[in-house]
């Protein structure tokens, strides 16, 4: 009996010690910037080493280590890895000090609303990053308490931008005796002309994002900033049988019926669509600026150009991904110093000269002619306050919903009205808690 009591006391003491340890470690990690050694910056990002951003971050790491004397402990992650599991990791002591994260309500907004990433408003004031970012780029960096973008609190800093436009194969246009369109009517005329010549003009992919982005771009042709605010910022309920969405869905169906898009689009992946533009099979590709660098190096058999979608005041696009500082970060001050380095003109110029879209570059530093053309187009969109974000942002998992519903539309399984109703149902369900 006495032995049993002694054993119970020992166990209770062990449990108490363990609990104390847990509580103490919890306090330490959750502190503002305590717990870190101040000598190591734990950094996660998912940009490929050869991409514009990957090159820029590599240079930023070098400068950071030279200037601060601290070491960067870099872990290369995949986009999927961070997207799917970051929220679990950020809730632990294994959180990095600085992390690249996707912007938008369902991603960075979600982390902001759950308190997993830090309010960095004070650092923004201290370093003056807000002065370097155009207002439309700030939307995705600031969130409300509920995680809706466009709020008042800074939760991230973007270093680059992106937008969706149209890539044209100029040689194919010349061979077909056609001009690059400047209005939507001319765009449709060009599509008709290519079809008449037996060419399927648009490279598209229904198994991944390109078809959904074209659908949203078609809705933007009919919509205005009010529609975007309703759709993305939940200002008012979206009318899923209204003119914008109805026009987009019906027009997309027409594109397939008229042969502007291949009839087998529903199983095509983004990579295949991009490759069909690179190899000259399809003369037109509606997609994002993230293809630009790759086309520069691979679409070398013909001349090509990129413009904003013809006739559109609004374009898909946003700031690029954000630097976010986890709430459990141990070295927040080092994280802010690193962000500041990435905003310097020399780092921004690396982005700009490698096919990326810098947000704070000195235009004199952009020596590459093709890159300068892209940056000019992007700045035109920014000046017109034209960035309208992406269709899958408003609700978690809405990307898969859009892919599935548009597959249903283009394969003829469901009509436009049913497609809109299904999309609306899923949108309303996914955004209910924000409205």
């Amino acid at each position: 009996m006495a032995r049993n009591i002694r054993r119970t006391k020992t166990l209770a003491m062990l449990a108490a010690l363990t609990a104390t340890g847990v509580i103490l470690s919890g306090c330490t990690s959750g502190g503002d910037s305590g717990g870190g050694d101040g000598d190591t910056l734990k950094l996660w990002h998912y940009e490929g080493a050869d991409s514009a951003m990957g090159k820029a971050w590599a240079e930023a790491i070098k400068i950071f280590e030279e200037e601060t004397g601290a070491t960067v402990e870099f872990e290369e992650k995949s986009f999927e890895q961070i997207q799917k599991t970051a929220s679990q990791v950020l809730d632990t002591d294994a959180a990095p000090d600085l992390m690249e994260f996707n912007k938008g309500n369902a991603t960075a907004g979600f982390l902001a609303s759950t308190g997993l990433i830090s309010d960095i408003s004070d650092a923004v004031d201290e370093y003056g990053w807000d002065d370097k970012l155009a207002p439309s780029l700030q939307t995705t960096a600031k969130y409300t308490d509920d995680g809706v973008m466009g709020g008042d609190t800074w939760f991230g800093i973007p270093n680059y931008g992106e937008f969706v436009g149209v890539y044209y194969n100029e040689d194919a246009f010349a061979a077909a005796g056609l001009e690059i369109p400047t209005t939507y009517d001319e765009f449709v005329d060009v599509l008709d002309a290519f079809v008449a010549q037996g060419v399927t003009p648009l490279a598209e992919a229904g198994a991944e994002y390109p078809l959904g982005q074209l659908w949203y771009q078609l809705a933007l042709l009919e919509g205005d900033r009010g529609f975007v605010d309703d759709y993305q910022l939940y200002k008012n309920p979206v009318d899923w049988q209204g003119p914008e969405v109805t026009s987009a869905t019906e027009t997309l169906k027409e594109y397939v019926d008229k042969g502007y898009i291949a009839s087998d689009v529903s199983s095509v992946k983004a990579e295949d669509a991009g490759v069909s533009f690179i190899n000259g099979t399809s003369p037109i590709f509606v997609s994002g600026s993230w293809w630009f660098g790759r086309f520069v190096s691979e679409a070398t058999g013909f001349d090509w150009t990129m413009t904003a979608f013809p006739g559109a005041d609004l374009s898909l696009g946003s700031s690029g991904n954000l630097w976010v500082v986890p709430e459990n970060a141990a070295n927040k001050d080092l994280a802010y110093q690193f962000i500041d380095i990435t905003m310097r003109p020399e780092i921004q110029a690396i982005i700009g000269n490698n096919g990326g879209l810098p947000v704070a570059a000195d235009s004199a530093d952009i020596t590459d002619e093709k890159s300068a053309e892209l940056i000019a187009t992007f700045n035109g969109v920014l000046d017109a306050d034209g960035l309208s974000f992406y269709p899958d942002w408003p609700a978690p998992g809405f990307y898969d919903v859009i892919v599935q519903e548009l597959q249903g539309l283009v394969t003829g399984v469901q009509d436009a009205s049913t497609t809109n109703a299904n999309l609306g149902e899923q949108y309303d369900e996914g955004t209910a808690e924000f409205r």
Partner: protein, 320 residues
């Protein structure tokens, strides 16, 4: 009343003598079972209970789950995507259990009884390894290759072959019935090797003299197959059917790699649907509900299989 009228179970005839026990009882053995029980508790029981609790919550995967009672269970009853996913499970059972088991049985019997005897054991072993190869291939690799074969337009290998015969290119993974059919054919290809290997191992138990005697008595191959092969390897057929049924109900990898549930949900299966709810929509509570239903179905199917097998064995031992 029902208990009184229920037929008595057939009495078990004595089996092989059991392992002699120590005079001190079986208490000492429990010590050796403890690590196993501890792992069972940590890896199975705790997550299972946690998963069950989550079905009564709305949770995004971080912070505190919100209790919502039976909301997820009510939703699942009227969720057409959920029922579509379970309908597709039936097709997966056809592709991963029914067809591979039947074909595997015939192939194993042919390899053992015909190929093995006429061409020697090495040829039989080589062919058996060939059938088993898809089981070794990582599904991610196999899926990418399948994707190349059935890719749309004129680039896909299948469409090129059909094109040589003047058949127009078809969008195999982009259309409704064909996407599911392609997935099913892939699963037949992947699964076939497993029953072949198990059945051939089982056939080693058959005394070759049995076949020779049957042959001398004038039995043809089909008669030998049904009278000898089928009856001897029945336990293995049960094992293969049970394990493949569980695999078919839980199938995830091939759907994730090849179709991602598309087009328009045509190839959605419960495991992939649960994954979508968990990780992309962050409806962890609802994802847990789908996973729980899947678990319940797997457990029920397993119990039915084991009971039927035990009942048949009992009858067999009783000479019925």
């Amino acid at each position: 009343m029902s208990l009184a009228t229920r037929p008595r179970r057939t009495a078990l005839p004595p089996e092989e003598p059991s392992i002699p026990q120590r005079s001190g009882g079986t208490g000492g053995y429990w010590l050796y079972l403890l690590p196993g029980f501890a792992l069972l508790l940590i890896i199975v029981i705790v997550p299972l209970v946690w998963n069950l609790l989550l079905t009564f919550t709305k949770w995004k995967g971080v912070r505190t789950p919100e209790f919502i009672g039976l909301g997820n269970w009510q939703k699942i009853l009227t969720d057409s995507d959920f029922w579509t996913s379970f309908t597709n499970s039936v097709w997966m059972i056809l592709a991963m259990v029914v067809v591979p088991t039947i074909v595997g049985l015939i192939v194993a019997a042919l390899l053992f009884d015909v190929v093995g005897r006429k061409f020697g054991g090495k040829v039989g072993a080589f062919l058996r390894a060939t059938y088993y190869l898809p089981q070794i291939l990582p599904i991610a690799v196999a899926g990418i290759v399948i994707g190349w074969i059935v890719r749309p337009g004129g680039d896909g290998a299948l469409n090129q072959i059909l094109g040589a015969f003047g058949i127009p290119a078809y969008d195999w993974l982009g259309q409704m019935p064909s996407a599911l059919i392609v997935l099913m054919l892939v699963m037949v290809w992947v699964q076939l090797g497993y029953p072949v290997v198990v059945f051939m191992a089982a056939l080693q138990r058959v005394d070759p003299e049995l076949y020779e005697a049957a042959e001398l008595d004038g039995a043809n191959w089909l008669q030998r197959f049904t009278a000898i092969t089928m009856s001897i390897i029945r336990p293995e057929i049960f094992v293969v059917t049970l394990t493949c049924t569980i695999a078919a109900l839980k199938v995830f990898g091939p759907v994730y790699i090849i179709t991602r549930g598309g087009p328009a949900g045509a190839t959605l299966v419960p495991a992939y649907y649960a994954y979508q709810e968990f990780f992309t929509k962050r409806n962890v509570g609802y994802g847990a509900t789908i996973a729980t239903v899947l678990t319940i179905v797997v457990v029920i199917v397993s119990i039915i299989f084991i009971r039927v097998q035990n009942s048949l064995e009992r009858k067999e031992r009783a000479g019925l």
